[in-house]
């Protein structure tokens, strides 16, 4: 019902693995999301992606068309995200397809498994109990490569100016398969990595729900997550930086702190209280979602939930927001070195 009230960024889902957000910002923001099974096998996935993207022709095309991209693990995904002009991204995706076809020859030489350089990398691995010591046989490497890069288990989103040719080039990468998102949440705090009272660590927070996901629940959840960070930063002054990772059934936050135990307690205190999002959160969410730093996260959030991003402020009753908040369950624990 409320969709009629919303002015939204037109959202087109081609199959289930290609998500398009046409928007007149002149260039294209793109992301390739590689799911990590049970949040594990980062070293294998990163090793394959790193070798694939070091293809000399691909690098030359990226140089000529000024395509900037980063490969890193974020939560339960390996993410390759970048920007470029539409014609450049078209050339890049076409070349990437060629690189994928050439890749089996490189598989014969084996790959060096590596870890992504994200600063929160260790915490991601600890929470998802990712193992680094496992040795990968050539069979496992080739199976992983074929599963994700050839059989279309990747997810791609494009945001910005998206000509038809670019859509086709992106579709070539994900194929016609429609794979639903697979996500298995982590079990909980690992016994191995108990956080110290002081020292670097993160507070892991996850909101999850079994119900239907909508733009209104997205706004309510965004409001709650921002309020949590504001509480930890301004009121308790123990954590001011967070990485938000949208999940198929919710959202997870990785809040960096120097006092993991205290921050965990503060987060639990905050989350245990009832929260009533303000109807004004819509405006805040729109500004957030269209800020340069958050373009990727917002687009991926909409893609992974299969909803549209609101672009204009609309009226929403506090009752609706409260109702959408009620369904969320939350998990919070800290982890540290």
């Amino acid at each position: 019902m409320y969709i009629r009230l919303l002015a939204v960024l037109p959202f087109i889902s081609v199959g289930q693995n290609l998500h398009l957000y046409p928007q007149e910002i002149g260039y294209v923001i793109w992301g390739i999301y590689h799911p990590l099974q049970y949040g594990r096998y980062e070293a294998l996935a990163y090793g394959i992606a790193e070798r694939l993207f070091s293809d000399s022709i691909l690098r030359e095309v990226a140089y000529i068309h000024n395509i900037h991209y980063v490969i890193q693990r974020v939560g339960p995904w390996l993410v390759i995200q970048g920007t470029g002009m539409p014609e450049g991204v078209y050339a890049f995706f076409t070349t990437l397809k060629g690189a994928i076809e050439r890749f089996p020859r490189q598989l014969q030489q084996g790959i060096r498994t590596k870890l992504s350089p994200h600063p929160l990398g260790p915490y991601f691995r600890w929470v998802y109990e990712d193992t680094l010591t496992e040795t990968y046989t050539p069979l496992m490497v080739s199976q992983a490569f074929y599963r994700y890069w050839c059989e279309g288990q990747l997810h791609i989103f494009l945001r910005g100016r998206i000509p038809m040719l670019l859509q086709r080039a992106a579709k070539q990468l994900v194929g016609n398969l429609s794979q639903p998102f697979e996500y298995v949440p982590p079990n909980g705090p690992s016994g191995t990595y108990q956080p110290p009272r002081k020292g670097l660590g993160v507070v892991y927070v996850r909101w999850y729900s079994e119900g239907r996901l909508s733009p209104i629940s997205m706004i309510a959840l965004w409001s709650h997550s921002q309020a949590l960070l504001r509480f930890l930063c301004e009121e308790r002054q123990i954590a001011c930086r967070a990485t938000w990772v949208p999940l198929p059934n919710g959202l997870e936050g990785w809040i960096e702190t120097g006092l993991p135990a205290a921050a965990e307690q503060a987060a639990r205190d905050f989350l245990s209280r009832p929260y009533y999002p303000s109807p004004h959160s819509v405006a805040g969410f729109i500004t957030w979602a269209h800020t340069s730093d958050n373009l990727h996260t917002a687009a991926w959030w909409a893609a992974v939930w299969g909803v549209a991003l609101p672009t204009e402020v609309f009226s929403i009753s506090p009752h609706q927001l409260r109702k959408s908040m009620r369904r969320w369950k939350m998990v919070a624990f800290s982890i540290g070195e």
Partner: protein, 477 residues
């Protein structure tokens, strides 16, 4: 009562109206609008502009303003540079008029900021530059002077408000397309009124004596703070910079870098480098495309950069705000003529170069050399001594002595410092004795005047070799 109102309106009228710029090219068709209020100031006032920007951020935390900002979904940005300073917001399009009102409200409250908040604003500015003494020194020297500490008082801030932030001096910049009705509403809004006389009693003067002594230059192999000369034509500035970045990132990428436009014709670059990247920068004399591939890469980088600048002006206030304050053309063509790309540009960079924690090159020329005495002018062109001995081998006393002698002759009454470091209090006497022994050797064997060198002992900085010594000469000490 009516007479009072008329008098007030008359005062506002006498102040004039701000100039309003509508810029449909920026954030065009975005659901979010960028709105900025900018003002010009004299180039030496950029630190005060930063303090004003900090004060605005503090004032925006007033309960009513913060609640209003939250209900509008506002995000606040500030900027200060040689040309002026600005405060900006991003806001959903539908809230354009309330956002302009909010900005005016924020500016109008600045004159009533209590002194303790001014002091916090000043300390925030002071802390932001802590650890970046080289960059700050470069900025001051490029402005023709040397940083020697600046006092701050609330009265100086208020006189800045009167001088540079009166209504007629303000520029309101609104991005995206607007209806005529919205434009009329914006023009009807009254900007803040700053009275002629504002004064604060019992105002204390805070001095900007740095609490830090020196940067931890051992943390990286090489470090540069450079002022890069830009071409005169506005779109070429962007093209030149993109060409430079493309080549730099391709051939010898830095470990970490940041940069911003500084004044009309320069780009200020601060970078941590490895040896390869350092050599690349030292050896770069011109930017001319080597082949057609590089030419295409430069063109592509320019186009992408232009789109990015136009899509997110709030992140590029160092480009857009000076462009509006200078009043020239700010439009960026989609591409530049082929001949411009083929011709290329000379690359001129001057600044401070640190390499491998001991060599310190200083290539900044003092702007007005006529006003200097011949000895000072020769010192300005000669490198300022700053040597670090990491404790391996013998100290290079002869080299140090000649540098001290040269510096003493040029600068006269300013002594150099021989700095030693101690780990624990027990070490202090031993280290101090050693420093004095070196000083005695320099005086006896190399005949430097005793007044030209003094000895200082400091606590150990992390990552520093235990035997390290530093010989530092600065003319502002």
């Amino acid at each position: 009562m009516a007479a009072c109102h008329l008098l007030f309106l008359g005062l506002i009228w006498a102040q004039g109206l701000p100039s309003i710029h509508y810029v449909p090219e920026l954030r065009s068709q975005s659901p979010v609008r960028w709105i900025a209020v900018a003002w010009s100031h004299s180039p030496q006032k950029w630190p005060m502009g930063e303090i004003i920007a900090n004060a605005l951020i503090l004032r925006a935390q007033d309960r009513d303003l913060a609640e209003k900002a939250e209900s509008l979904g506002l995000r606040l940005y500030t900027w200060s540079g040689l040309e002026g300073a600005a405060v900006a917001v991003t806001v959903p399009r539908v809230y354009t008029i309330p956002a302009v009102k909010w900005l005016y409200d924020l500016l109008s409250r600045l004159q009533y900021l209590p002194p303790y908040l001014w002091h916090i604003a000043w300390r925030t500015h002071h802390r932001a530059w802590e650890g970046f003494s080289l960059e700050r020194e470069l900025l001051w020297r490029l402005g023709g002077g040397r940083f020697s500490g600046v006092g701050f008082s609330v009265d100086s801030a208020l006189s800045y408000l009167q001088q540079y932030m009166s209504t007629a001096c303000l520029h309101l910049i609104v991005s995206g397309t607007l209806s005529i009705r919205d434009k009329n509403q914006i023009q009807a809004l009254r900007p803040p009124f700053i009275p002629r006389e504002i004064s604060v009693s019992n105002d204390s003067v805070l001095s900007d004596t740095p609490s830090y002594e020196e940067e931890n230059i051992w943390a990286y192999p090489a470090y540069v703070v450079l002022q890069i000369r830009l071409p005169a034509y506005w779109p070429e500035k962007i093209a030149f910079l993109q060409a430079f970045l493309v080549r730099w990132m391709r051939e010898a990428p830095p470990l970490r870098w940041k940069g911003s436009f500084w004044g009309n014709d320069s780009y200020l670059l601060q970078a941590r480098l490895d040896g390869r990247s350092y050599s690349f920068l030292r050896g770069l004399m011109e930017l001319v495309p080597r082949d057609s591939i590089e030419l295409i890469a430069w063109k592509s980088a320019y186009t992408t950069a232009c789109r990015h600048l136009q899509a997110f002006p709030e992140y590029f206030m160092d480009i857009w705000i000076p462009a509006f304050l200078r009043g020239g053309s700010y439009t960026l063509p989609d591409s530049l003529p082929h001949e411009v790309w083929q011709r290329g540009w000379p690359f001129q960079a001057q600044g401070i170069w640190l390499w491998n924690d001991w060599l310190h090159l200083d290539t900044v020329q003092v702007a007005d050399s006529n006003s200097l005495s011949p000895s000072r002018a020769s010192a300005a062109s000669a490198p300022i001594p700053d040597f670090i001995w990491t404790g391996k081998g013998d100290p290079l006393l002869s080299e140090w002595a000649s540098a001290i002698q040269l510096f003493w002759n040029a600068e006269r009454s300013i002594p150099c410092e021989l700095i030693g470091y101690y780990k624990s209090l027990r070490d202090r006497t031993r280290r101090l004795k050693y420093l004095h022994e070196l000083r005695r050797r320099l005086i006896r064997e190399y005949h430097i005047p005793p007044q030209a060198l003094r000895v200082t002992l400091r606590p150990m900085t992390p990552g520093l070799p235990p035997k390290a010594l530093r010989l530092k000469c600065t003319s502002d000490s």
